[in-house]
Amino acid sequence: MKKVYLFCSAGMSTSLLASNMQKVANDHNLPIEVKAFSLPNLQDIYEKEHPDCILLGPQVRFAYEETKKTYNKLNIPVGLIDASDYGSINGERVLKLAIKLMKQGL
């Protein structure tokens, strides 16, 4: 089971996107678990859960470069969710981004 974890400022709206992505993954029988959290909890979550892919919401784009630097070193791909995909709650496109990131590696 691959863990795709989403992070934004509060994790609130992002949890709806996560459940949308989970649905798409389930529909295609993909062994992927999608969950949403708030960015301040990232380090904690990493230590406890060891996600396979980290995606940041457009609300926290300012933290992208630093997060990428930190977690790429730990071999975890980090992606940025496109603002229009986020705004249209496009679970399929965001899930594709996660899969692409995990496939291509670092």
Binding site: C8, N20, P58, A83, S88
Partner: protein, 109 residues
Amino acid sequence: MEGLELLCFKLISAAGTARSCNIEAIQEAKKGEFEKAEQLMKEGEGLFLNAHEIHNTILAQGTNGGNTDGSILVMHAEDQLMSAEMFQIIAKEFIDTCRRMSELERKVN
């Protein structure tokens, strides 16, 4: 997902990205990259105006009574908008301060 929920998501995305632009603008200003800071502020302003348009649409539609999930999402969307507005003001002041500090540093060195 459609209707009010989708509008809320669009608002959260536009306002949230606008706020991120403002934060990135401060980060650039701290490095003395004022042109980049101004560009990011401009990008943020466009998104903020976009957010306001969506907000007006939500207000014009009125609230959908009874749907708790919906109203919590509306609250969250409104919160993002307010926070983006506040951050725009803070970022402008901060960039101005960074600019003055940078000028002072240039004079001293």
